[in-house]
Amino acid sequence: MIVELGHFALILGFAVALFQATVPLWGAIRGDAVLARLGSQAALVHFALVALSFAALTHAYLVSDFSVLNVFQNSHSLKPLIYKWSGVWGNHEGSMLLWVLILALFGAGVAVFSKRLPDDMLGATLGVQGLIASAFCAFLIFASNPFLRMPNPPIEGRDLNPVLQDPGLAIHPPLLYLGYVGFSIVFSFAAAALILGRVDAAFARMIRPWTLAAWITLTLGIAMGSYWAYYELGWGGYWFWDPVENASLMPWLTGTALLHSAIVLEKREALKTWTILLAVVTFSLSLLGTFLVRSGVLTSVHAFAVDPERGLFILLILIAFIGGSFALFAARASALQGGGLFAPISREGALVFNNLFLSVASLAVFVGTLYPLLLEALTGAKISVGPPFFNLTAVPLMVPLFLAIPFGQKLAWKRGDLLGAGQRLWICMVLGVAGAAISAYATGGGPILALAGIGLGIFLVLGALDDLLDRALRGGIGLIGARLRAIPQSITAMALAHAGAGLMVIGISATAFETEKIAAMKPGETLALDGYTLRLEGIGPVTGPNYNAIAAEFSLRDPAGAELARLRPAKRVYIGRQMPTSEVGRYRHGLSEIYVAIGETSDGQHVDLRAYHKPYVLLIWLGPLLMSIGGILSLLDRRLRIGVPARRARLRPEPAE
């Protein structure tokens, strides 16, 4: 009954989305404020219906209703509660429902938070959002219905793919989708601006909070996915330049560029067409990513529940939206009045530099990801474009960008002083080189590129934070506290986000200094790893709620011989699918980790193992975390919000609703 209710709510939601896609848009074009304003109500009702539908599917998962085909295929009654719940989006249909839910969430968000938008802008934006929602609701209902019943309900389900039975599944896909799909609303704003022919500083202020919100969650989502792959796949990698990863990186790169070009649009009314183009391209790349991940046209290590036939449906949606928006862009962009040109050495010049490199890096990733498809279509040859390609293209293109960030932060609008900026940054550069030299000494040499990367990272962190130091010290020693408080929140946000990029560069460079050991050990034997000692204490069976495992217990000792921890890597076999997975054993010290994964233990006498010492590896994910903290600070900066209503003084406490 509840399942049918969810199914019905979804169909009703589709109908409301069709209404949202037509009436408010028509009202906006005709200048009818009443019709345009209906977009808000439609967006809220659509969100409520999709949320109801999602809740119904969640309920079916929680009570293990195996009469629903989707639940039968992807759940098991013995599964722990958190995986029953997160398993809702651990499959194709459920994850597309989550996609539509987040799409509706952003539409409702605009209806709630952007009440002060001009009527026609609101109507057109929500109208375009309604168009996207209609397309994906249709896809769900006609090609990926999660509510289909089975005529003869089985007693037990087929269980969720064991690799997905991890807390990461509860966090990673929702965050990633919030980012991916969040750019849809920015796209809708851009399309609305094109339709109405109004791109100005106010437009940049309108899209700012939404771009930031999408960017923050996409940053966190990608970082979380990388961390999950690191501990789940058992070989300690954090980024494989896999098509599915690239699919999320491309919108991130152009989304980051958009975040910066919107600042130029807001402050200087320049880069109008470029900003619009970036908004269109970013969401197009999100759609492309959805298509690549869902259709399985590219072989990926992260592909789940792919279905080529349904891929075609998404491809059609993709072509319709990308084609439509580019046609609209081509027709209307020339009508936009160009902004003034500006001096190359200035804040806006630096932001153009940023945009240039981010877009070109995104282009390199795009070519590398799609070239195999193109070549196979043209010649039939099957190729794979792996890490060497990206290490030679996207990575060198990011280096000038990282070098330029601290300079850009110091340049003033209109006319910057590169020499003045350089004078302060000299010290940061010297410290960066010193840091690289110290690492070279401490590790006894090492790859020169990795050392350069560490120097670059240190320069970037110090250079980004120097801005704050400079501002704090300007008033003399006695005023530090007051000056620190006076620093605008958005300036602190920028410094933190850029420092986060620096931390990530250090973490990635430090992977060149990791130690890997592959060995076979019997109980009682020891393995030396960069001064640490691993001793195999024993091998034994472990029983979990829905799996059986063979676990090895290691004691880890530091150079002085004191025991630090017990590590218990295991090989699990899940009962539902009889599928093995690895659980790694990890020990964190500072920002570094000891990482142990075991192979098969068929004879019960010895285990094959892979052990790593990974110095400063956690910086790879702490960097993006700091970047998103910067983003959140910037989002909370009240000065930058449009139309913040003055808070009315409360005369008497109001009763709760």
Binding site: G234, V301, A303, L363, S384, G386, F389, L392, S582, R610
Partner: protein, 149 residues
Amino acid sequence: MTRKQKRLAMIGAIGLVLAVATGLILTALRDQIMFFRSPTEVVQGKVKPGEAFRLGGLVEAGSVVKEPNQIVRFVVTDGANIVRVTHQGILPDLFREGQGVVTEGKLEPGGVFNASTVLARHDENYMPREVADSLKQQGVWKDGKGAKP
């Protein structure tokens, strides 16, 4: 700077970066891509000596031999031809006899494929598309049986 000079400087800089990027991409596309080969193509001598490539097919049942020092030997087949593979390291969780596999490495002088990487998959019923295609070519593939492409 005059307006014209500013515009030229801007266009020049953008052109320069695009040219460098295009150069990097084209060079890397020429040198850094890896071809996917089936055992039949390897036997037919389509592989250049010393070329790194991806070899894919099914792990022949009963062919996996484990030796000391984590060395594994197995045979990859596409139904028509076979290639012997050696790999040092720990095999991924989903490596099984009779299942699809993709390996990366080089052919040694004796005709044995030395795999530096054996690729793992997340999903037990997932067959790499390239492997499925090459099996179809050899007529080994039966739709609906076991693995799905």
